[in-house]
Symmetry: C2
Subunit: 432 residues, 2 copies
């Protein structure tokens, strides 16, 4: 570290939509960043896949390199920004950077959620910072508040809308009545969804973020593989309409809960009441709702993706890491002392909204209610819609384990008087 | 500091609604706090005004003292929590604690907003932390996000609902149509407003918070005296109804803006559109809406007051200060390098909503419009309500300086055809 002239040198790995904004801000805001960090932040180099690719920002040619490993192991690099994503080569590069004495800022949710432990261990060993605010909910400050602001409190639940693509699709289905396929197509046309939307639509992206949120909120270690995951491809226009009748909306939620000393971490679509603060999160925005024992209910809202917003989070981490390097200290590392078990989905406690096409016979309601009772599930409300061949029951249960609830649905599917179970969706956002 | 047995000793000044919750959490959560801080946090003493007062928490008798100065200058005190409020003796105690080598956590918005500079200087001199997250918006993490998470970005505007009492009153006026006096009375009955509501209702509390927010957001120094302040006592049921017709709500806002390299910091009631995220902040909740160049629009929402929520913020600061003490480092101190001028209110740029009782004469609209034009104010919309003797014009202006707008209103008041200017309110929350 070149402390003499108060400059720190920054290597940026990746120059796509986030990396190019990081480079732009490092240049345009350099005076402010220097005043805040206590040293100039100089661009040491930018690792790219192809030297001649078109970029959103102009990078002096001598700073570009295709040899990322060479860049992060140079003697004159103090800080490394990793915005290439994916598992490898990102993991190898971050480990090499930390071993080389650099502090690292990453936006890599997939890597952090799959193998954060290896990275945190390396950061501890080198006594360097590994910050990753940009990995969850883009520009929204949520990881630092969980790690520092709420560290004197006991967080009990985190409900997050942490994937902008799926929120855009569900919001579109709500406002226009469109089905999933049509809403996805519009999201793709507008650039909110990728050509292959699997990672977003199937909940992989949200599950990685849920793992990171649960780990920080509960001081434990949760990996992406621990997170139960269901996407939104099965959400129908009828589900959305049914939610509306209940004065609710369907959202894809990342849910992290403490229950009986264990953690439940899951991603699935759920109905939440219109009055819940998360219900008003529209379009591609993200929000994270946190419940804690002393603070009560908090919400953090903002853009969850995009080059400039994500770069804002990266630079916040970068300035903080720079301050720490200059003062010879480091921020809080991983806090996983609680080492909690992860609950299997079947033991998670939740509520179901079930739509059932039934034969219009006397006693049908009693028979259906008996099926719920047989599995120990009590019913909160039941509503009958239509008559004759169009008879439809809508049942909302009280809280029960997911195993009890799914066994009930299985049971219903096998009953003679049930023509079809038309909709099954969990209900969240209400107090126990 | 007693680093040998990994314990840090905490003095708490004040044992009212916040102090008692701090003491309770220090006891009840001690194992978790120790794991997170890296050392046990032991209660060294609690300074109170009267030893025999009734308290919400039981404090061992030998830990109670009425001599706060003696407590903060003891050798075995590492961390001091100041939750007594007011200017003196709080200032003297904090200065003594810092000089004695303790790090300090305060919830004292009035003191920070009036004389933060003296305190920050003392903290720098002693190389200790002075944290005060609880001073603004209670449990909501907003100061640390501004100081750290957004430090790589350029914040351009902060709009805050930072006083729960006034938000409760205005929300009540909206939902019930009640007038100010009636809503205040209900707030007092429910414990949301004090018997003497001046500090809340006249905007003093919000102005102190605006000064703190502006200082952190813009890396400059703004004191409570720099903040233009108008309360909500003049807000009428008619104003609220008029806002509703515009699909807006009236909120008391703390507004901090960068404009032409200077800061505008002000507190006043304003109409904001229903679609703005701040519009849905109900009852006594607080929220801070932040606009920045790279991140875009963020919002932080939660309970702005109350013993336990405020204690959550205090303990987050306390654990962070403890970690820093243990590692021999400190967090970021005051950042006021930008040293910006504060704009006088007259130079602030805003929009006005003006209700005018006019005589029903031909040409009245043209005459009124000419008055606006004479002061260089252009009109966005004008609506005529009623007829004959009840004729009323509602004018919403485009953006202009507050001086131009208030001169226009003065002019209107002196016009023959104007019976009365019935309502003047600023309009915020829309883009320029």
């Amino acid at each position: 570290m070149s402390e003499g002239d108060k400059a720190l040198r920054v290597a940026v790995l990746g120059c796509g939509s986030v990396g190019s904004q990081v480079v732009r801000l490092l240049t345009e805001q350099s005076a402010d960043l220097a005043a805040r960090a206590g040293a100039r932040l100089e661009l040491a180099g930018v690792a790219v896949r192809r030297l001649d690719a078109k970029r959103e920002v102009e990078v002096p040619e001598h700073l570009l390199t295709t040899d990322a490993m060479d860049l992060v192991t140079r003697d004159d690099v103090d800080l490394v920004v990793e915005v290439i994503g994916g598992i490898e080569p990102a993991r190898g590069l971050i480990l090499a950077a930390l071993e080389n004495g650099a502090s690292v800022v990453s936006a890599n949710k997939a890597l952090l959620a799959e193998d954060g432990a290896t990275l945190f261990e390396a950061a501890d060993k080198s006594a360097r910072d590994l910050y990753y605010e940009a990995a969850v909910a883009g520009a929204i400050p949520i990881l630092r508040p969980l790690r520092e602001s709420l560290t004197g409190d006991k967080v009990t639940r985190v409900l997050g809308i942490v994937n902008g693509t799926t929120n855009f699709i569900l919001d579109k289905m709500h406002t226009s009545g469109a089905g999933f396929a049509e809403a996805l197509e519009e999201a793709q046309e507008l650039g909110y969804a990728e050509a292959d939307p699997t990672a977003d639509v199937e909940g992989f992206d949200a599950a990685a973020k849920a793992a990171i949120l649960a780990s920080l909120a509960f001081h434990t270690r949760v990996t992406a593989g621990d997170v139960h995951r269901e996407g939104i491809a099965e959400v129908s226009a009828a589900d959305v309409a049914s939610a509306r009748e209940m004065r609710s909306v369907v959202k894809l939620l990342a849910i992290c809960e403490l229950r009986d000393g264990a953690v439940s971490a899951r991603v699935h679509p759920a109905m939440i009441p219109d009055t819940h603060p998360l219900a008003s999160v529209r379009e591609a925005y993200n929000a994270v709702f946190v419940e804690s024992e002393a603070a009560g209910q908090l919400m953090f809202y903002g853009p969850g993706a995009g080059g400039a917003p994500t770069a804002s989070a990266v630079l916040g981490d970068l300035v903080t890491a720079a301050r720490n390097l200059l003062s010879g200290s480091r921020g809080a590392g991983e806090s996983a002392y609680a080492a909690l078990d992860v609950l299997p989905m079947g033991e998670t406690v939740t509520r179901y909204h079930v739509g059932i096409d039934v034969q219009d016979r006397a006693g049908v309601l009693a028979t259906v209610a008996a099926a719920f009772a047989e599995h120990g599930v009590s019913i909160q409300t039941v509503r009958q819609e239509g008559r004759g061949d169009d008879a439809q029951l809508v049942v909302v249960s009280h809280r029960a384990t997911d195993a009890q609830l799914s066994a009930t649905v299985e049971h219903l599917r096998n009953m003679d008087i049930v023509r079809e179970v038309t909709s099954v969706m969990r209900v969240e956002g209400e107090n126990d």
